[in-house]
């Protein structure tokens, strides 16, 4: 075999991960046509959607034609599941008895969406995660700890199966509480972990304050894979996590309805690779719907899972906002990169005092200021015609004597990075809400009158 050992040391699949761009588009088009035909033949929902648009699978002849296919929105998935067969509805493409997995979305943006998968789909989930974990340096010799509640949310389930697939030793930290999880990591000398950024920081807090354990010094975790929130792509949040754990922190992005579609590699290029082996991703201008191919222009991600069969995900409007990177990655993968990861959600990016802002921009500032705790809350209200932003923060007990300096830095950086003024409220340390999974730190009360 000509593919050298070095290539297979670096890539899960060196053939696909280094495929030239034009070949990749050819592969994606072939697979897109296959999944479109699959759904058209088996799903009443998809067939109706495409017939109403006057489109048949055979009409898709080029990569550019993909954009002609109608998009699917989350609200449509909620309507679908009110139909038969229970509980998934008429986008189901396999007999109900072939479904082996149930998961549901977290419901952060409304009624949860139910997601069926066959065993083949579940293998595919693990395959997608295997690409990303391998790119983040997971190998057979790793002992991986998973501190999440194994339940109806997909969360890190597929990370568990993918780590097994790679050959890692996997420790399920399921129903243990945070202190027990930390002690188990210490006892078993686990060297890798997967968690949300909020929980990664929260665990470190608990380790230090309740157990007297310094994660960087006393624990052996050296790589952490994050998901569920954008924190690992926000430089200041990533830096906090890396410093406190003495570990490399890598981001990954995915969704229950889509799959694990993006990941950071060990080169940490300042963005996330799209897994183009398994997903076809397009960026659309938020207002005009125009497809964006050039770097440096933000758009929302419309995405197709090319091999998922039970409930296909075809041209799903993810609402995630991103932009293409200018630079190729030094890792050698030809998978495209979204610069800075997912920078916001189309329905979260909001105009305050006439300025467009994503909540992640405020997180970037707060976490860059030494002396502030990891927790904060942003509340937007309206007084008359004027928008008002309140930022609630906590000052670390050891920095209380420097409160004025800390607050001045915070105000200066907020003005510089977001072009907005804030009412800053200092709250006692440990009084703001703590989150174990996805944090809800941004509250726009204007929408509710």
């Amino acid at each position: 075999m000509k593919t050298s050992l070095r290539a297979s040391d670096v890539y899960w699949n060196p053939i696909i991960e280094t495929l030239p761009v034009e070949k990749m588009r050819e592969l994606q088009l072939k697979k897109f046509k296959r999944i479109l035909e699959w759904a058209y033949e088996r799903s009443k929902f998809h067939r109706k959607l495409y017939q109403e648009a006057g489109l048949e699978p055979g009409d898709i002849k080029s990569y550019e034609d993909v954009a002609r296919v109608p998009k699917v929105e989350k609200s449509m998935m909620r309507d679908i599941q009110r139909k038969d067969p229970f509980p998934y509805g008429d986008a189901l493409c396999v007999p109900l008895e072939e479904v082996t997995e149930f998961r549901q979305t977290s419901g952060t943006t409304g009624t949860p969406v139910y997601q069926p998968d066959t065993w083949q789909d579940w293998e595919w989930w693990a395959e997608a995660w295997a690409y990303l974990l391998y790119a983040q340096g997971y190998r057979k010799s790793d002992r991986v700890f998973l501190p999440f509640g194994y339940n109806i949310f997909v969360a890190f389930w597929a990370g568990h199966y993918a780590a097994e697939k790679i050959g890692c030793e996997v420790i399920p930290g399921g129903v243990l509480d945070t202190e027990a999880r930390i002690l188990k990591i210490q006892e078993l000398k686990a060297n890798a972990m997967m968690a949300t950024p909020t929980y990664v920081l929260g665990m470190a807090d608990t380790a230090k304050k309740k157990l007297g354990i310094d994660p960087a010094r006393d624990l052996t975790i050296r790589k952490i894979t994050c998901a569920g929130e954008p924190g690992a792509s926000i430089p200041s949040t990533k830096q906090r996590m890396e410093e406190i754990w003495g570990a490399k922190v890598y981001d990954h992005v995915g969704a229950t309805e889509i799959g694990a579609w993006g990941f950071e590699c060990t080169a940490q290029p300042g963005g996330l690779h799209i897994n183009e082996a398994l997903f076809l991703t397009q960026l659309e201008d938020i207002e005009t719907g125009e497809i964006i191919e050039e770097p440096g222009r933000k758009g929302k991600i419309v995405i197709t899972a090319l091999d998922r069969i039970a409930q296909p995900c075809i041209r799903f409007d993810s609402k995630d906002v991103a932009e293409w990177s200018k630079e190729p990655c030094p890792c050698g993968r030809t998978f495209r990169i979204i610069q800075g990861g997912v920078v916001g959600r189309a329905d979260d990016i909001t105009k305050i005092k006439g300025v467009l802002i994503a909540p992640s921009a405020i997180e970037e500032v707060v976490h860059s200021i030494k002396g502030l705790s990891n927790e904060f809350e942003v509340i937007v209200t309206k007084k008359g015609d004027l928008d008002n932003i309140t930022l609630k923060i906590e000052i670390l007990p050891e920095d209380e004597k420097n409160q004025e300096v800390v607050l001045t830095q915070l105000k200066d950086q907020l003005r510089l990075k977001t072009n907005l003024g804030y009412n800053i409220e200092v709250h006692p340390f440990n009084s703001l809400p703590r989150y174990e999974v996805k944090a809800k730190r941004f509250k726009d009360l204007r929408k509710h009158g």
Binding site: K2, I15, I16, L27, T118, W119, Q120, E123, E127
Partner: protein
């Protein structure tokens, strides 16, 4: 890896798939065979995604 090498891999993948489908046909409905064969077929699909789908593009 050359196209020729990929095609050799693809041939072996097809052989595994054919043998697994034959196992199911011969199982007499024994679930210990059928369900394990289904799991093999799911893994075969991952091999198809990684090799067979791309074999003519290299």
């Amino acid at each position: 890896m050359s196209r020729g090498e990929l095609r050799k891999l693809d041939t072996r993948i097809k052989t595994i798939k054919k043998a697994t489908l034959e196992l199911k046909q011969l199982s007499g409905g024994i679930q210990a065979i059928d369900r394990n064969a289904e799991r093999i077929l799911a893994s075969v699909k991952m091999l198809e995604i990684n090799i067979s789908d791309v074999k003519d593009l290299v």
